[in-house]
Symmetry: C2
Subunit: 283 residues, 2 copies
C-alpha cells in the first residue's frame, strides 16, 4: 500500500514517520520543500502535490486552516487514481469536510475527516486521540494506520462528524481554560498564594487537564506554546460558524476574549496566556 | 476539649460524628431539634445555641447561607467564654468572615473561616479539602481536628482567605460544568453519539472532574443532586459580590444561566441540570 502524506509540520512530521517506521512506503509533500526533504530517507519527498499523490492508495493531510485543506484537496482530487482513500486530519470546517466527501464520492474516491487531539507530544508518542467521520467501512480499512498514530480511535459517524467531535472537545476546553484564568485572577486580587490556590483547584472537583497543564504556566507568566492561541482561535471560530442558531454563551465569551488576545499580538503564544486578557486589562 | 457543632445537615452530620468517634465530647445544635437529637448518643443535642456553646472550647458551624452564618455567630458570641475558637465551615461571604473575625477578636475570641469541597461523600469519608483563613497559630491549634474531617487542609492566609479560595474554586467549576454542557448540546445538535463524545472529552486535554462526574448525568437527563443548583448559585453570587470591578466574563455568564435555571424551579436539582438551560430553551 502506497501512502502519501501532505503537511509535515509539528504534528504531520511524527505522524508520517510512524507510518514509515511501520514499513509503509510514504511519499510526503510540504509547501516548503525543505521541510519534506528533511524527513528523507525514511520517506520520499516530492516538489508537487501531483507527483506526491498520483500513485497513492491513501492520502493523509494535516495542514493549517480550512482554506489550506480546500486548496490541497482540489489539487489532490485532480491527480489521484479512482478508489483512493483521502483522510484529512486537520482540525477544519465540518461543512467543508462534508463538501469534500461529496466531491470525492462523485469521482469514485473515498474520504474521511479525522482530526486529532493530544498535541505534539501525542503525535510523537503515537498517543493521539483521533475522531473520525465518514463511511464506517472506509474507517475500518484505515483503522490499522490510525492505530500507528494514536491510542484512542473513535468512529463518530457520518461525514463531518469527526470535525464536529473535535469542535465539541474544544468547546469544553474553552470553559476549562478560561475558568482557571478567572479563578487565578480572582485569587491574585484577593492576595491569596496562587500555588496553594492551584493545588486546591487540582485537588478536588474543580480539577481538569487544563488546570494541571496550564495553571502553573499562568502563574509563572510562561507563554510558551503547548497549543497556539492562533490555532485555538481558529477552532473556536469554527464552533461559532457551525453552531448556527445555538446560543453557546461560554464558548462565545471565550472566543471573543481569544480574538482580542490575538489582536494584541498573542497569536504565537500558548493558550494559557489568556490570563493576560485579565491581568493586562485587555478587556 | 469540649466541642460544639452547629448545623447537622448533609455535611455537618458526618463531620461532627468524625470528631465524636475520635473521642471528643461534642454538643450539637440544629434549628430543627430532631435532626440534632437523631445523632445521640454519639453526641449530645441541645435546644438552643446558648446551651450548646456556653462551655465550649471550640465551636464549629456549617449552615446554609451567609445570613444564617451571621445569625448564628451573633448568638454564639453572646454566650461563649473568652478565648473560645470559632470556626465557620459554611461556604459564605468573605466580607462577612472578615467582619466576624474582627467582632470575635474585639471580645477576646478567635475565629477561622474554613469552607470545604468534596461534597457529602467527602464529608462521610473524611476526605474533604478544607481551605482556611484566619490567624496561623489558631489554624495550627485546630489542624488536628480538621484532619479528622478532611484529607487536604490548606492554610490560605488572613481572615476571609478560606472563603476567597473556595469562591475561586467554584469559579473554575463554573467554566468546567457549563463548557461540558455546551459541548454536549453542540454534539447532540450535530447528531453525534453522546456517550462516544463524552469518552473523547474525558480521554484527553478536555478532561475534568466535572466531565467525569456530571457528563453522563447530563446525557441521561439525571437531575439527582450531587451538588444543588441553589447552593452553586449562592456561591456564584458571592463571587459576583466579591469580585468588585474585576470583569470575570465566564463566571458572570454562568451565574446568569444558573439564576435562570433556578428561577425555572431547578433549585433542588443537581448542577448538571444546567444542560436543560440549552435543551429546554430557557435562554
Amino acid at each position: 500500500m502506497k501512502i502519501s502524506w501532505i503537511g509535515t509540520g509539528v504534528m504531520g512530521k511524527p505522524m508520517a514517520l510512524h507510518l514509515a517506521k511501520a514499513g509503509y512506503a510514504v511519499s510526503v509533500y510540504n509547501r516548503h520543500f525543505d521541510k519534506a526533504k528533511a524527513l528523507e530517507p525514511e520517506v520520499k519527498a516530492y516538489h508537487s502535490i501531483e507527483s506526491c499523490v498520483k500513485d497513492a492508495d491513501i492520502v493523509f493531510s494535516i495542514v493549517g486552516f480550512p482554506n489550506d485543506v480546500k486548496d490541497v484537496y482540489l489539487e489532490v482530487m485532480k491527480h489521484v487514481r479512482p478508489n483512493t482513500i483521502l483522510v484529512d486530519m486537520t482540525t477544519s470546517s465540518p461543512t467543508l469536510a462534508i463538501e469534500l466527501y461529496a466531491m470525492a464520492k462523485a469521482q469514485g474516491l473515498f474520504m474521511l475527516d479525522a482530526p486529532v487531539t493530544g498535541g505534539d507530544i501525542g503525535a510523537i508518542n503515537a498517543t493521539l486521540s483521533i475522531m473520525v467521520g465518514g463511511d464506517e467501512d472506509i474507517f475500518n480499512r484505515v483503522l490499522p494506520l490510525f492505530r500507528l498514530m494514536g491510542k484512542t480511535i473513535t468512529y463518530m459517524g457520518k461525514p463531518g462528524s469527526g470535525m464536529h467531535a473535535k469542535l465539541a472537545n474544544q468547546t469544553v476546553i474553552a470553559g476549562n481554560v478560561m475558568g482557571v484564568a478567572e479563578a487565578l485572577v480572582y485569587a491574585k486580587d484577593k492576595g491569596l498564594d496562587l500555588e496553594r490556590m492551584l493545588s486546591v483547584i487540582t485537588g478536588g472537583s474543580a480539577n481538569s487537564w487544563q488546570a494541571q497543564y496550564n495553571g502553573m504556566k499562568m502563574i509563572k507568566g510562561d507563554h510558551q506554546p503547548g497549543f497556539y492561541v492562533k490555532h485555538f482561535l481558529k477552532d473556536l471560530k469554527l464552533v461559532l460558524e457551525e453552531k448556527k442558531d445555538l446560543k453557546l454563551e461560554v464558548v462565545e465569551t471565550v472566543a471573543k476574549a481569544y480574538q482580542m488576545l490575538s489582536d494584541q499580538g498573542y497569536q504565537d503564544k500558548g493558550t494559557q496566556s489568556i490570563i493576560d486578557y485579565y491581568l493586562k486589562h485587555l478587556i
